[in-house]
């Protein structure tokens, strides 16, 4: 055990996927095998790190032995472990899905291209994500979000189709602008504080340059998180990518910037309630607008993408409770909702991809006009919907419960109403495809019960199942989450 303890599992969570990406880029033909090997190793690192953290509290590594503020410190606390675990869980299953989506059995040059480039891009993305979750330095985070952004854009346009390219360019612009606002904020923070580590900056919170820096970061990260009204780039980008790419983009990539925002909020800036209220209102706008668009859209993947806008908005309600007595509960709820959304949305995109693959289209109105019913994929979609709506015993339910509890403890009933509205909206738009799955009187032929089952249904199904029952493990997740008190000691 002592030998294991001396290994830097923390740094390895970033390095393992990085070296895997290098190897998979060098040996394109072996990319899936290499990709899985490196994912497995990364998962092992995360597990070992989690064991360390659970046993002995937060792990901190001073890279190069210098220590902040001169050097860079990596840190894994409960919040980091939860995010890393979420990333690995979703990542592993989406990779399984990708194995089929880009399998060598499928014809076509485009598919060959996707098979070659999916793995290096995804492993580089993973490296950036893991790096963001363990970073404690704002400039280091800037570099990480650029790694994430470029890899994410690569994944967005992987299909090579024109609409994906256009959506990717729009995403690129939004993402670059977000990153540059962030960079300007880094500059202002250094101007004020002369250092970049979280702890050092926290001491300067409230000074004018830091306040402007925070405002810029808030906008930049909101842009990357697609928080209403800065969501304009998301639906097309997520809807036009290939299914595994959409799953990663919607499930994981958005969470990284949301996580950074959350981290800054509680650890560095601790802004006043007015900004919290603003973010909460933006979240409310997202819930309404995202839902309305999801109700109107004609395509299944667009519906799923718009639902992301709405769900992210709901999570952001937690920011409005940041300086109330319900803060800790609300933050816990927000993190649970993030995890729930990551798992469920990844499952949903994979399932939507499978449905489109089996039926040959993704028009919502025509889902019931065919005898082709990929029932397993549809079942996975429905299970994922349960979590997104927030019905028990899903993690989405647990998260929503805690969020509403936080709001109630704070006496802020308005956010309870928003959460309820979000739930009703999500029922309304998610029932559109579900009704399509279950309606039979317009199908031309008798509908077969077990039609269109394939081994590729397993990843979405398992993910959706995990999403649907993981609320029962909420208290364990929160137990891990609270290690190192990421949300601070609140009264």
């Amino acid at each position: 055990m002592s030998e294991f303890a001396s290994i830097d599992w923390l740094a390895l969570t970033v390095f393992a996927p990085l070296l895997g990406a290098v190897a998979s880029f060098l040996a394109p033909r072996m990319a899936p095998q290499i990709g899985f090997a490196s994912l497995t190793v990364t998962a092992l690192c995360v597990v070992m790190l989690a064991a360390q953290v659970i046993a002995g509290g937060p792990v901190i590594v001073s890279l190069g032995g210098w220590g902040a503020p001169l050097g860079l410190d990596l840190r894994a606390d409960g919040l980091g472990i939860v995010m890393l675990g979420m990333t690995m869980l979703v990542g592993l299953f989406v990779s399984l899905g990708a194995l089929d989506s880009f399998s060598a059995a499928r014809e076509g040059e485009e598919n060959a291209r996707m098979r070659l480039y999916f793995w290096p891009l995804w492993l580089l993305l993973l490296s950036g994500l893991n790096g963001a979750y363990v970073s404690t330095d704002i400039f280091n985070l800037y570099v990480m979000i650029e790694v994430i952004a470029l890899a994410a854009i690569g994944l967005t346009v992987l299909t090579g189709r024109l609409e994906a390219m256009r959506a990717g360019l729009e995403y690129m612009f939004a993402s670059m602008l977000g990153a540059l606002l962030f960079l300007m904020a880094v500059g202002l923070a250094y101007l004020q504080a002369g250092r970049l580590d979280f702890a050092g900056l926290a001491a300067h919170a409230g000074e004018p340059a830091m306040m402007l820096a925070f405002a810029l970061m808030l906008v930049g990260l909101a842009l990357k998180t697609a928080l209403f009204p800065l969501h304009f780039w998301l639906p097309r980008a997520h809807a036009s990518a290939s299914a595994p790419a959409s799953a990663l983009l919607s499930g994981l990539v958005l969470k990284a910037s949301l996580y950074i925002l959350l981290r800054f909020w509680v650890e560095i800036f601790g802004p006043g309630s007015l900004i919290g209220l603003t973010v909460g209102l933006m979240g409310t706008g997202a819930v309404i607008w995202g839902s309305v668009q999801a109700l109107r859209t004609q395509r299944l993947k667009l519906l799923v993408a718009w639902s992301t806008v709405a769900q992210i908005g709901l999570i952001c309600v937690a920011f409005a409770l940041a300086d109330t007595i319900g803060a800790q509960t609300a933050w816990q709820g927000a993190v649970l909702l993030m995890v729930a959304h990551a798992v469920a949305k990844a499952a949903m995109f994979l399932a939507a991809g499978r449905i489109a693959q089996e039926t040959g289209h993704d028009r919502i109105a025509d889902l019931d006009r065919t005898h082709l019913r990929p029932t397993l994929a549809q079942f996975a979609f429905a299970l994922a919907a349960i979590s997104l709506i927030g019905l028990p015993p899903s993690a989405g339910f647990a998260g929503k419960w805690l969020l509403m509890e936080g709001a109630m403890r704070a006496g802020a009933w308005i956010w309870v109403v928003v959460a309820m509205a979000g739930t009703l909206f999500s029922v309304a738009y998610l029932s559109r495809p579900l009704i399509g799955f279950l309606r039979f009187d317009r199908a031309p032929d008798p509908v077969g019960e077990h039609h269109g089952w394939a081994i590729a249904d397993a990843p979405p199904l398992m993910l959706a199942f995990i999403a649907a029952i993981s609320g029962l493990a909420a208290v364990q997740i929160i137990g891990v989450l609270d290690i190192g008190a990421p949300f601070g000691p609140f009264p």
Partner: protein, 102 residues
């Protein structure tokens, strides 16, 4: 707030950097042509770099703080990578729109 206007190199370029950032921001939000939008974003990047470099400045004939310099160098490389990807996208879109596949 203390607006003590001692006009030195740092102040001048700090303000200039802010203005360049603002110009870039305006361009990024307002321009429709993608190539020009890329340039507008680059202006933002340079504007932000100005602030970091000014933060490192310690007065005339004084050695500057090396850390922001390192950060800006990193930022420049990151920026060129992002620009290359954006430009490749623009070229690819143009090819596809004009029916050229290669």
């Amino acid at each position: 707030m203390n607006f003590d206007m001692n006009l030195d190199t740092g102040t001048i370029f700090g303000v200039a950097g802010m203005i360049v950032f603002g110009i870039g921001l305006f361009g990024a939000l307002s321009v429709s042509d993608s190539l020009r939008r890329v340039l507008a974003l680059k202006l933002c990047g340079v504007g932000a770099s100005f602030i970091l470099i000014v933060a490192a400045w310690r007065g005339p004939a004084m050695p500057a703080d090396p850390v922001p310099h390192a950060l800006v160098i990193t930022g420049i490389v990151v920026m060129v990578s992002a620009t290359a990807v954006a430009l490749a996208l623009i070229r690819r879109i143009h090819s596809l729109e004009n029916g050229r596949d290669v």
